[in-house]
Amino acid sequence: MRLGERAGLKESKPLRDIFGDALLEVVENNPKVVVLDGDLGNSTKTELTRKAFPERSFNIGIAESNLVCIGAGMAGAGLIPWITSFSSFLLCNGYDQIRLSVAISNLNAKILGSHGGITLGKDGPTQMGIEDLALVGGLPTVVILVPSDPVTMHKAVKAATDHVGPVWLRSSRIAMPYIYPQDQEFIIGKAITTREGNDLTIIANGMMVAAALDAAVALQEDGIQARVIDLHTLRPIDREAITKAAKETGAIVTAEEHLLHGGMGSNVARVVAENCPVPMRFVGLADTYVESGDPDDLLEKYHLTSSDIEAKAREVLAAKGETA
């Protein structure tokens, strides 16, 4: 079954294409925005901007350290750079540069880490960003955005550009279905309650929000009302929405296309443990590297499907029953 099909969500194009469209729009509307590419513009979809605004597009080549710092220098010159490449290359070749020249410097630079997660599929583990959020998590000044659908991706690009300070935006190769109407509000740091419910809460980001909605429909068939929270901003984390969910539903499942170690779930758990401890379960990648393969096969093999969320939901409800 297609992602979001059970929840009745409408199909869309790959999230990276939405990013490309949105980036072109912000470049059109703001003369200060410049785009830097690590020779992957046809994959990250910055190529649209390059065609329309060649004078504000720079291919720095396959040299991510240099790429990040040239972008930082442009921020120092008063521009708003979008520094773009695969998250794995930016973070693994340019981490020191992001740390000093962007994060410690607290510069107004935006970084697109594309091909997050495992759903790039067949190119295999060297290209996958399964640790991106954990690594960016180690850069305290950087806002971290993980949009879940075309509408929020589009708005995230604009919000990131308008925000003053460093922002990391995760994009993916996979098509994520429409979850929200065009007028959906998107505010950095404010989670969206995508579905109401009081039996448990599923907190998800990225493609796992649609999977969570699929799971919620399946659970509803058994009379279980799951709340679904789209935690599109990992930092600053929405402590209020998480605490409220813990208090009102008494059980939480987190779901992310990322390593469990250092990912969204562990950050949510920190808030829950501090403010309102309730039983929790976690859907994400165990300590393993994923191999090449069809994205759907990989999601199934590595337990990142709506069925996996559903199973963890039943588990956490049982735990909630025991503690009640």
Partner: protein, 281 residues
């Protein structure tokens, strides 16, 4: 007409400034109990020429003046020198120097962007300064602001891969507005550069990357000034001034002794001796 933003001083005054900078570096690092004394000493005349002999255009009372020339201290461990220069230039009161490396002080162990006016980049992990400079130049071309960017790098720093990534890019973008000054003091933390990880033929390397190169005695303020002015005439390619220097210059028992790389003078007798040598020039 726009006022001349550069400072130009007679030779005797420049020599005097170099002395003051060395004394300030000595006092600040000794008070802190640590800091890169000898790496700061080797670049004193280079920055004296740049800041006080009519090269760099800057406004201490308007540190973020959009048309200012940028100075990027890529060899961030020479922070004591950078702070001494900025204080002398009037960016902040000299008293701040005596809080070097203290908790709560803006005068951090290595330069942090935004903590002190005049500091253009966060540095300390080596190799990033030229890339940042290229960004400032490409940015200035878009915003229509004309300024030059000067980046001071160390010799050991040339072992970093990013130096050569940025060398390639600067040449590709024909950044004639960019001038790198290489403090070639021939020593790195663990010993002589030639022994640890040799750079030669260094001039050939830069030239093969498309740079216009020049060499100078890095302790001759007049010669450095003259060379920089001549390099400013170069069109369509970035320039590098390889300045031959003496690590620890100014204090005989620190000179050429690489064990002083990250150390301050703590012994009171040594401190007095160092102070005397600097004052007597």
């Amino acid at each position: 007409m726009e006022k001349d933003e550069t400072t130009k001083l007679p030779q005797e005054e420049l020599t005097e400034i170099a002395k003051i900078l060395r004394l300030d570096i000595l006092k600040a690092t000794t008070r802190a109990g640590s800091g890169h004394l000898s790496s700061s000493f080797s670049s004193v005349e280079l920055l004296t020429a740049l800041f006080f002999n009519g090269i760099l255009r800057y406004r201490p009372d308007e540190p973020l003046w959009p048309k200012r020339d940028r100075f990027i201290m890529s060899k961030g461990h020479a922070a004591p020198l950078l702070y001494a220069v900025l204080a002398k230039a009037g960016y902040f009161p000299k008293e701040e120097l005596w809080r070097l490396r203290e908790a709560g002080s803006p005068v951090q162990g290595h330069p942090i962007l935004g903590k002190m006016p005049g500091v253009e980049a966060t540095t300390g992990s080596l190799g990033q300064g030229i890339s940042l400079g290229i960004g400032h130049i490409l940015g200035g071309r878009i915003t229509g602001k004309k300024y030059r960017v000067y980046v001071l790098i160390g010799d050991g720093e040339c072992q970093a891969g990013q130096i050569w990534e940025s060398a390639m890019a600067a040449s590709h973008f024909k950044t004639h507005e960019l001038m790198v000054i290489l403090d070639y003091n021939k020593f790195q933390e663990m010993g002589p550069v030639s022994r640890e990880m040799g750079l030669e033929p260094l001039i050939d390397k830069w030239q093969s990357f498309g740079w216009y190169t020049a060499e100078v005695d890095g302790h001759d303020i007049g010669a450095v000034t003259k060379k920089i002015h001549s390099l400013q005439e170069i069109k369509d390619q970035p320039t590098i001034l390889v300045a031959h220097t003496v690590k620890g210059k100014g204090v005989s028992f620190v000179e050429q002794d690489y064990t002083w790389h990250g150390r301050a003078i703590k012994d009171p007798e040594q401190y007095k001796a160092a102070e005397k040598e600097i004052l007597c020039g």
